[in-house]
Amino acid sequence: MNGAFRQSMTWLHTWSGLVFCWILYLLFVTGTLGYFDTEIDRWMTPEVQPSPPATLAASLQTGAAYLQREAPDADRWFISPAGGRDNPHLGTFWQKQPEEEGAERQFGSGNVQVPSAEPVPEGRATGGGQLLYRMHYRLHYLPGNMGFYLVAVVTMFMFIGLITGIVAHKKIFKDFFTFRWSKGQRSWLDMHNLMAVSTLPFQLMITYSGLLFTVVLWMPFVALGTYGFDTEKLLGLQEEVLGTAAPERSGSEAPLVPLAPLAAEAEAVWGDGSVRSVEVLLPGDANARVNVQRRSDFGFLGGGVMIFDGVSGELIDERDGLPNATLGVAGTLIALHEGLFAGPVLRWLYFLAGLLGTGMIATGAIYWAVKRKPKTIGAEVGFGYRFVEGMNVGTIVGLLIGVTVFFWANRLLPVSFEARADWEVHCMFIAWVLCIAHGLLRPGLAAWREQCWVLAALCLGLPVLNALTTDQHLLATMPAGDWVMAGFDLTAFGFGIAAMLSALAIGRRLKADRERPTVDVDQASALLPEGVSAG
């Protein structure tokens, strides 16, 4: 391959990586945690237990009764029976037209108890795992869709970084197993390469599918060419593409057909436990429709639907699988990205791959700084180097401290405090900003060691704090086989041990540096022949 081309790719890889590495690190940390979003939700609301199992018929009957009471005039109901990892409760959602023209549509949702149709008692107010999950594609504090747009741009640069990284690589097979320990910058580069090469399929999949989420942003003229600038039409794009366009309201009332027999009809075709959710369009209207949706590995794009008349219960249409190859490709990639289909082992593999991706970004940023570190004592340290070094420690360790503080805040903020959900996340960002300030003010390795100790203390203290503030501690959850709660505490403990070992290793390195005889740059220059510099 042309040397100049490879060199230019290396340049692009280095600088696009450096400019976006800290925000990419945020996206990877929160995205990786997002693979355990419902488990984190559960830990952050210890008062709320998962609902006991209920039959599909009872769930649909209860959901319809609840929505009939709460939102009888809605355009759309959505009932999602409890079951599996993602639905600890019977979930309901409704949507209706705005009361005034030009206003936004109204939405509502709620978890419901079967068979009483009463809301599930709410736990403490918290952003939970969903806040971290949302942060990886919307960021936080930014108005409107700005966070989404920014993430789209950063994702594109991540993709550029991956492609240029592959091109810049000379010996990809050799890097499969090469890690040279304790070799300074060479070790950091080895670590970066090893993490990148070992997770390359995951990185390519996660980044490319991430771009697919923002495809309308990157290629707006495809949709605009078809729909023009009519936003109402654009809102119906997905329904039209999926072939589930909403019916027109007739204006005359008619009772809604019982939902349970329709779901049973679908289960008779698809098999037991195959109904994921039931959507009712225009409930109470003569043109009502009921879409019984099949459980699918393809996430929101759906794997099949049976469309019934909402008054007579007659089967109108039936579709199994994705409607066309384009949606098949998109659905596969998006399903791979979200990993909703993953069982416990595969979910942990996703989590580990995410961690390695996070490590890849971190080691890349560290390598940039280590490579440019002044080699002599007393040599002038540039602002750029100092800034990157401070940001590295303040983000690579500091963000983890921030996330752990988020969990601490969940247990320490008073349950009755109205704005506690907001303050949980404020605490996270305050901790992160303080860590960045600390990283910029303290010398390199000392800052790393101190922040690693703080992280270790916070992570190791988290199971203890949980034991002191709730009755769902490890001594209770492990014997009970509650591996969601226990798994969270044990994972925090594992991260604490890793942070402690890192702090000890950095401490040894600092001690070795202090004991090593050093030569000041001015003294060295004085010993050298005239015209030769030590710096």
Binding site: F177, F179, W181
Partner: protein, 93 residues
């Protein structure tokens, strides 16, 4: 069970690829690796990995199995790399 077997087969394949590296081979078997041996080990490694992928996709379904295999391959690869570094005693040979 299918996942456990997939992990074991993938581990064998990854170890064979690891052995195909001259320095790793010398470290683990205390003798140098010939070019022919390297080719054979590498080919055997890829064949075993292919078997692991086929096994995973037939027992867990094509989509799920291949996704699981990729994840397992990532973790076994990085484990082998760190394990060999550990066996070297951090000498960075």
């Amino acid at each position: 069970m299918a996942m456990t077997i997939t992990i074991l087969i993938t581990l064998v394949g990854t170890a064979l690829l690891c052995f195909a590296m001259p320095r790793h081979f010398a470290l683990l078997l205390k003798r140098s690796l010939t070019r022919a041996q390297s080719h054979v080990l590498r080919a055997a490694g890829f064949v075993v990995l292919l078997i692991a992928a086929i096994y995973a996709s037939t027992t867990m379904g094509v989509g799920y199995g291949l996704t699981a295999f990729t994840g397992v391959f990532t973790v076994t690869m990085i484990s082998c790399a760190f394990l060999v570094t550990y066996l070297r005693g951090g000498s960075g040979a």
